[in-house]
Symmetry: none
Subunit: 227 residues, 4 copies
DNA sequence: AATGAATGAGTATTCATTCAT
DNA sequence: AATGAATGAATACTCATTCAT
């Protein structure tokens, strides 16, 4: 699977009736929102009777969850796979940030769907979508904890808070894009955000100390030489 | 106005009918959510007829916005006032983060209302609430830009992105509290988040400069000795 | 209240909106059955919007129950009042039988409604209709028990069984009328049924006693003659 | 066929697909009611596809009728056979009452099915079930008419009314059992009901007269002998 | 005999808002 | 300021039955 094919996952695009329904729902949900899209709208778009929808899905909400899953799962699978094959802490962090940012800014409507429609739902936290999300955010938490264990990152800061800051930040940025109030260059923002977070986390004191010592010694040498 | 009185703003608590309606709506919205609360529920709670509500508000949504404003405006006023009187960049940043975090974690239901009910609404970005929010986030952007101008902060990083990261992070943390999945110590989280962001933003170039200066001097000394 | 006005009870016919709805529902339920009558049908018949119905009734079922109550309650009130003022056991029995039979055969559609639509409903036995019915059948049970206490009726037979037989019989007769398969003369059937039940219940022991006495005396005489 | 085998009629239990469907339907109808049981439920219980059901039955209603028939027909066959072989009017009456009462109280769910689900159906009176019922009730009418022709029963009372009273009574008693509000001892109730009906029907006046005459004459003889 | 996907009609209920009084 | 009756649109879901395979 290639980065460029986020939404055409080989296996599921067999254009079964199920896929047709999901495709129609994706378009309609993205265009008009979940509440404004009726089962009848979806059925009409597919060209079947209303009742046929229920041969493939048990409820409208299930359709929403599946639409989101089809979009989100490949991103997460890719993230999990690739993060494993990357070496540096910072590298991995940047990748996770960039991937999510890219997915959300390229599909701002699906971003809106997740944030504004799915997440406020009562049973969201028991849904597969929440599971996916947890899988994703766990990847980042683990990278941060790796960084802390390796002594590269300051371990005073709670990794869960870093996760909230990163994904909260991504969501705010993407939400701006989703509501059409801003355009976003995923790569630039990812770099910038990675910098901010990594600098913020880096164990400063020691390196600073070493550096300061080196500078001091240089100064002394210079003084002596001058004299 | 004192920190401890976030929700009893002097001027507006004159217990007029308008205030009674807002008080009832606040309780009901917080308890059952916006959609699940009907105008009838509010009218009944106040003890008036349904129609009477519309003598004071033009729509149900306006009530929501006013409920949020009553909660949010004092926080922002306080932020604007106090931030002005503070000296250090970091100090001001920490204060803004802490105030928002505290407001959201102390009133998780209102936090939920803003994030999950008000913001997804179509006309949210034309509403007074969005204005309030902009006023608030602008405070933070200005502090960051001050820091950048003062040379304290790296100005490679877009202040708007910092704003998204900070408020996105705060919201994620508070949302966890609002949905009852986590308990939050506002002060600790604020400290931690401030650290992360400030460290992330701080200019390293100073030390580079020192180093460069030292090297320069060494070179001069070497020159002179050579001569 | 007079027998002839079973369904025009003074107080309730004020032609309020509520009464209009009940009147329309009565007609429609009687004509097409409960399931086949939609709320829209009723609203249209009254000349109001669908939603207006719910200002007066909480559910379609409540309308059914009220239709039945309006028909049934006066019958029961009358029964309770008049039975009290009657002297003979048999007289009272006949009256109760006749009244129910008359109500059911004069309003066969409402009879059908009670038996075939209301009674099979899940919550029927918790409804006001079941209460009414219990009040009614209790009247008969009490008359039978009075008869048993007075020595007029055989107390070997369970009064509750008599009640089941009487009301079951009435329903079968009335159901035949309701389904249009038979025409019924309430007075003749009431007389006949009263006869059957009273004869069935009457104590025979008296005559046995007389016979035994006579035989005793004959034996005594025979004894004396022998001596 | 023996009384104890009411529901295992030899011929039909060949466990054909048809019988499997009926068995599943019987269980499901009894447990959840006719309306609450879908064709899919039945098909799933049998382990075939929905469409397969229609190879054996033309409609859901036909299944209901067959379920009832399988239960009811043996009872009626037995009644017809045994009533013929019985001598006394009262004996036969008691048997018919007892048999129906026993069937209904032993299978209260099927009793409910007949009374509350099948009978209110529009085409019930054109169905085989109504035929069965007529055959059954005719047996009783004939016994009563035999009694009247033999002079044992009063012929003022319409035999059809007696039928309604008896079966109406049985149904009320059984319905109480079916809805779980009462427990019933079929034999005791049958005896009691038979007593009530027979006493109610017995030609009283003549026999009473004869008896009274006999007693009078005995008294006179005794008097004369004494004197 | 069996499959099982497709049909498509049918409906109770809610509620923000209005307006005549 | 207040009333409160009236509006009326809007919609997910079920299921007996069919039919091409």
């Amino acid at each position: 699977m290639v980065v460029g094919e986020l939404n055409s996952p080989g296996g599921s695009s067999r254009n079964t009736r199920r896929e047709q329904i999901l495709a129609a729902a994706r378009t309609l949900f993205a265009g008009s929102g979940y509440d404004q899209t009726s089962i009848s709208d979806i059925a009409t778009a597919v060209g079947v009777a209303d009742g046929a929808i229920y041969k493939h899905f048990t409820s409208k909400r299930e359709i929403l969850y599946e639409v989101i899953r089809e979009f989100y799962e490949p991103v997460i699978d890719m993230a999990a796979t690739n993060v494993e094959g990357m070496s540096g802490i910072r590298e991995r962090l940047r990748y996770l940030i960039w991937l999510q940012l890219r997915a959300f800014t390229e599909q701002p409507e699906l971003c809106r769907l997740i944030i504004a429609e799915a997440r406020p739902m009562e049973d969201y936290y028991e849904s597969r979508i929440a599971d996916l999300n947890r899988r994703y955010t766990t990847l980042l938490v683990e990278v941060v904890e790796d960084g802390q264990r390796a002594g590269e990152f300051n371990d005073d800061i709670d990794a869960a808070m870093v996760r909230d800051v990163v994904y909260g930040g991504i969501e705010h940025v993407a939400w701006g894009a989703a509501t059409g109030r801003r355009s976003v260059d995923a790569t630039r923002v990812a770099d910038s955000l990675t910098s901010l977070i990594c600098n913020g986390l880096e164990r400063r004191t020691d390196r600073d100390g070493l550096l300061a010592d080196a500078v001091d010694r240089l100064e002394h040498v210079a003084d002596r030489l001058e004299r």
